[in-house]
């Protein structure tokens, strides 16, 4: 496995191994951070800080947790930290993802843009959906990344998809009546 080789080399301070690791992980890290933060600069900061943390803390990595889950846990936490820090500048609320999300459906956006509709979802649904559809993480992996119970993740994904479908159906029906 390239991963375990890189980990050992990076732990030994091999810069070339870190460059290769960056080459392999940066694209999806940037995509994920861009989708979560919806802001180029915040995404850049989150990804940069994640790689710095990985480089400096790789000695603390516990191989009982899959490396991808460890990496994306750091990334997701960085995104949420940066969003929280900028919360007064942003439209987002930052609930603890373990908390129950609001049961009230938000008003249906007028736009038929699917991406915007994903972003309209509560973070509790939005972030698991981003991890699932962007990087293709399994429910188990999402649970590891977000440090949540796997059943909760399953339920959030189900609810998130359902809400998204309802929103899409409503928007499309509205479009048809126009």
């Amino acid at each position: 496995m390239f991963q375990s080789k890189w980990i050992k080399q990076i732990q030994a301070g091999d810069q070339e191994a870190f460059r290769q690791f960056y080459g392999a992980y940066s694209e999806y890290a940037i995509r994920t951070a861009s989708a979560i933060t919806q802001n180029r600069e915040m995404a850049k900061d989150a990804v940069q800080e994640t790689f710095i943390r990985v480089y400096r803390n790789i000695g603390k990595y516990n191989p009982t947790l899959p490396f991808n889950s460890w990496f994306y846990r750091i990334l997701t936490n960085e995104c949420l930290r940066i969003l929280k820090k900028n919360s007064m500048y942003s439209k987002f609320e930052h609930p603890n993802l373990e908390n129950e999300p609001s049961n009230e459906d938000k008003p249906i956006p007028q736009s038929s843009d699917l991406y915007e509709e994903i972003q309209e979802l509560d973070d509790a649904f939005r972030i698991p959906l981003i991890l699932k559809y962007l990087k293709g993480f399994s429910e188990k992996e999402i649970a590891e990344i977000l440090e949540m119970n796997q059943n909760t993740v399953k339920s959030r994904l189900f609810q998130g998809r359902k809400r998204l479908k309802n929103q899409l159906d409503s928007t499309e029906k509205e479009d048809e009546t126009l």
Binding site: R19, R31, S34, R40, Y115, I118, L129
Partner: protein, 248 residues
């Protein structure tokens, strides 16, 4: 995978495609700088702090020289010419709402030549007043949205540490969720008070800095805009304020 799943996957991939290569390069350059420069183990943040301290020391030294020179007649002449030390117009790159923008900013002088600030005069104008100066947006806000302004006021007889508490008490009446007083070093060094009166796009935002005027008083810089404009006007005001310099 259902059609719905495919659609969501495709949409997320398409919408996160933009700027990837450029960002990869930019982040790598920062990482190299942070992790592999000669000053190994010393983070950029630390370097920035050290650089900041050096700048503060230089400014303090310059201010001392300036104070000494201003006490003489030659100094009085110098005072009015200090702003000549600044170039009248310059081009800056600002990152607004995630995009880099190249804009022209013009040097503006505050009341009684007490400070200078570079203003993006395509979007804002500085109006001098008796009690305070006001930088306001040239383009009016949408209907039912509050005006966008940055007021700069000098309070000559009250130090920032006392004044900020009084302003906090006043602002709390209008903004019950006003954040606690923060000490900041960017874009200016002093105290920050930030509050919003709601979470709607048109909700009022107040963003106020209370800083020393270099003597026994303070400058109060009060930005007002609406929530939706935080990443636009809010970011532009921040950049503008980075150019704020006290010259008296």
């Amino acid at each position: 995978m259902s059609n719905f799943d495919k659609r969501v996957k495709e949409e997320l991939h398409v919408r996160t495609e933009k700027h990837i290569q450029k960002m990869k390069g930019e982040i790598w350059n920062e990482l190299e700088q942070e992790l592999f420069t000669n000053n190994k183990g010393e983070s950029n943040k630390l370097k920035k702090r050290k650089k900041g301290k050096a700048i503060v020391w230089l400014i303090a030294s310059a201010a001392l020289l300036l104070m000494l020179s201003l006490q003489s007649e030659t100094g009085q002449a110098l005072k009015s010419e200090i702003k000549d030390l600044f170039i009248p117009e310059k081009e800056v790159i600002q990152n607004i709402e995630g995009n880099d923008e190249k804009i022209e900013v013009q040097l503006n002088e505050g009341s009684d030549s007490e400070y200078v600030i570079y203003v993006d005069e395509e979007r804002y104008k500085l109006t001098k007043g008796e009690e305070s100066d006001m930088i306001s947006s040239i383009i009016p806000p949408p209907e039912n949205f509050p005006a966008v302004t940055m007021e700069i006021k000098q309070v000559v007889d009250e130090k920032p540490e006392n004044l900020v508490k009084k302003i906090e008490a006043e602002l709390k009446k209008e903004y019950p969720e006003l954040r606690a007083i923060e000490e900041v070093t960017e874009p200016v060094t002093g105290y920050l008070l930030h509050g919003a009166d709601g979470h709607e796009p048109e909700s009022n935002i107040v963003h106020t800095y209370v800083i020393s005027n270099g003597k026994e008083g303070s400058f109060v810089i009060m930005q007002k805009y609406f929530l939706l404009a935080a990443e636009g006007h809010g970011a532009r005001f921040h950049r503008m304020l980075e150019t704020f310099e006290i010259v008296k």
